[in-house]
């Protein structure tokens, strides 16, 4: 059941196209993330849903009502801003009650609803404080409560975690997700942080230069990137130039070293130049068990990242990164030593340019 439909949305700013031909159907209760680098049009798209920007072309339909030209104060969508945007002259309670006050709800209703919201974000003790007396994380929770208090049809979040510390960012992110699931509210979340998008979303829209690159679940977007941009932007990735040596068997040559891929090479010619991509965690040392590719390599560098150890290896003339889980009881290879690594043929992706 489609709850929010964007069809053929475009936006120009004085001749520059910021968003082009954006199509998306969002289901009720779904959590969708717009992921992309800054300037990719994700925030502009969000602001068009909120009504702060008018699309140059296209249509926005919410619950079968065309809201494309509705002013922002008549749309029933809640917005969370990166910089909290709490009203500094109002207490936490007054901030949360603002939307209800504007809607001329009775005092009793406002009281009951703000109490409910304070309990939801767990800030009952701070009800009478002013925004400056709260930490960033607390302020953003108030801003969430303020947006939810008016029971919006859709919740829009514009990089709500970017201004926070790393720890708070992670805990608030799961809190947002939990609240969203409890209330069953449709949410659209803008971020440039791929880890954030992967962890929180039902679906991710990867955007670049005003266009949609790929739409899919976090699992699909991460494991089966459809374009080189997506593969590069979501997660870390090794890429190398390669040459097709046998289209039928899926054989490639990367600097003289033979790789086998599960990607379909049928349409390609022998000798054609392509790019291959392999995620670092898809490599493993051969001693465990052999997969499709068994490759000789030299250990170039080792970086300890906590739960993961990143090892830079050289296969032929090409450098690759390989991630292994940290295991205190397993000895790491020595720098400069020769090892054998392996990866499955599904891990070797051949991408469109």
């Amino acid at each position: 059941m489609t709850h929010l439909a964007l069809s053929k949305i475009s936006k120009d700013f004085g001749g520059t196209t910021v968003v082009q031909d954006f199509n998306l159907d969002v289901k009720k209760g779904e959590f969708v993330s717009f992921l992309g680098p800054s300037g990719c049009g994700k925030t502009t798209t969000l602001r068009m849903i909120a009504g702060f920007e008018m699309p140059t072309a296209g249509q926005i339909v919410m619950d079968d009502v065309d809201i494309t030209n509705q002013p922002p104060n008549q749309r029933n969508v809640g917005m969370i801003f990166q910089a909290y945007a709490l009203f500094p002259n109002m207490t936490v309670t007054q901030n949360i009650g603002f939307g209800l006050q504007i809607r001329r709800e009775s005092r009793a209703v406002i009281k009951q609803r703000t109490d409910e919201m304070l309990a939801l974000i767990n800030l009952e003790k701070h009800a009478d404080k002013y925004p400056y007396q709260l930490s960033g994380g607390q302020q953003q929770r108030v801003s969430l409560a303020r947006a939810l208090a008016v029971r919006p049809q859709v919740l829009l979040l514009d990089e709500p975690l970017s201004a926070l510390d790393a720890k708070i960012r992670v805990s608030l992110r799961s809190e947002i997700r939990a609240i969203q699931k409890t209330l069953g509210i449709t949410a659209i979340f803008v971020t440039h942080d791929q880890e954030e998008a992967l962890s929180i979303s039902d679906r991710i829209v990867v955007m670049n230069a005003g266009e949609m690159e790929q739409v899919g679940t976090p699992f699909e977007v991460y494991n089966f990137p459809q374009t080189r941009f997506v593969a590069n932007f979501v997660g870390s990735l090794n890429t190398a130039n390669a040459e097709v040596t046998d289209p039928a068997k899926g054989l490639l040559s990367v600097g003289g070293v033979q790789f086998i891929t599960a990607s379909d090479l049928a349409a390609r010619k022998k000798g054609e130049a392509v790019r291959v991509s392999i995620r670092p965690e898809r490599f493993s040392f051969l001693s465990e068990h052999k997969k499709d590719n068994a490759l000789d390599c030299v250990i170039e560098n080792i970086t300890f990242l906590g739960s993961v150890v990143r090892i830079q290896i050289k296969i032929g003339d090409s450098n690759f990164n390989m991630d292994t889980f940290n295991n205190p009881f397993l000895e790491l290879p020595k720098l400069g030593s020769k090892e054998k690594v392996t990866c499955s043929k599904e891990a070797v992706l051949v991408l469109d340019e």
């Binding site: 700013f13 004085g14 702060f52 920007e53 008018m54 002013p71």
Partner: protein, 266 residues
């Protein structure tokens, strides 16, 4: 942002409306004065009045003295207020309130009242310095203090005094070096903006010089108004052009920096 709804267009209309009203209010008196100053010769528009002003040795004499007073005021002001504001920012926040209170006093005490009590105090023994130009300069320093001090303080707020001082200390600099080689150059925009405001105040200030009987621009112009018709108009335009130039220089130097500027007194 790029919306062209009726509401926004209406807002833009009013913005232009107020702006044009402001521009008219600002320029009409100046245009009138300028036109008037060109009427020294009957029937034609000419720069005769300006020629008279620039050939008037009294004008040159009084005006140069005003410039001298202005420069002295700025030097004394910087020497007193920079170390004070710096020490308060760095080490003595407890003194912030009393010092700020004192620096704002000239706002509260009407200039004419202040000038008379100053003159009275220093015109009887043992403080008989009423004839010394030092008293005039001291009075100007006090009158321009609210602007000078707050300009310097704004400048210090914009730089990280603590870090700069510690960086200086770690390199072995003494207090004098830190103050004059590190802090001062870093707040020169703020000091300049305070300096030009002080300058404008000194040029326009009437009563202090009048009652201390010292040569200065404003008393001379007042005198001239009673004597002549067109020359004072020319002088008003000249003094306006000078204030404008000073402000232009502040803007030019302060370009890109976000320091506040305050207006002068009357």
């Amino acid at each position: 942002m790029n919306q062209t709804s009726d509401k926004k267009r209406g807002g833009k209309f009013w913005a232009w409306f107020w702006m044009i009203l402001g521009i008219l209010y600002f320029f009409l008196p100046l245009v009138a004065t300028f036109l008037f100053s060109l009427r020294a010769k009957l029937g034609v528009l000419s720069f005769t009045a300006y020629q008279h002003v620039f050939n008037d040795s009294n004008f040159i004499y009084n005006f140069s003295y005003s410039v001298l007073w202005g420069v002295l005021t700025i030097i004394v002001g910087v020497l007193i207020f920079v170390p004070t504001a710096y020490l308060i920012r760095l080490k003595l926040p407890k003194f912030r309130l009393p010092v700020e209170f004192i620096t704002m006093l000239p706002f509260v005490i009407p200039a004419i009242v202040y000038v008379f009590s100053l003159v009275r105090t220093f015109s009887q023994p043992p403080l008989l310095i009423v004839n010394s130009p030092a008293l005039l300069v001291a009075g100007y320093v006090i009158l321009s203090m609210p602007y000078m001090y707050s300009a310097i303080d704004t400048g210090l707020r914009a730089i990280d005094v603590q870090t700069l001082t510690e960086a200086g200390q770690s390199l072995g600099a003494g207090w004098g070096t830190i103050l004059f080689k590190i802090i001062l150059p870093n707040i020169r925009t703020a000091i300049l903006s305070g300096a030009f405001l002080s300058f404008a105040i000194v040029i326009g200030e009437l009563i202090l010089a009048q009652y201390l009987v010292k040569p200065a621009f404003a008393p001379y112009m007042t005198y001239l108004i009673q004597q002549k018709a067109y020359e004072p108009a020319a002088m008003a335009i000249i003094s306006f052009a000078l204030t404008w130039a000073a402000m232009g220089i502040i803007q030019f130097i302060g370009r890109g920096s976000e320091q506040g500027q305050i207006a002068g007194g009357h």
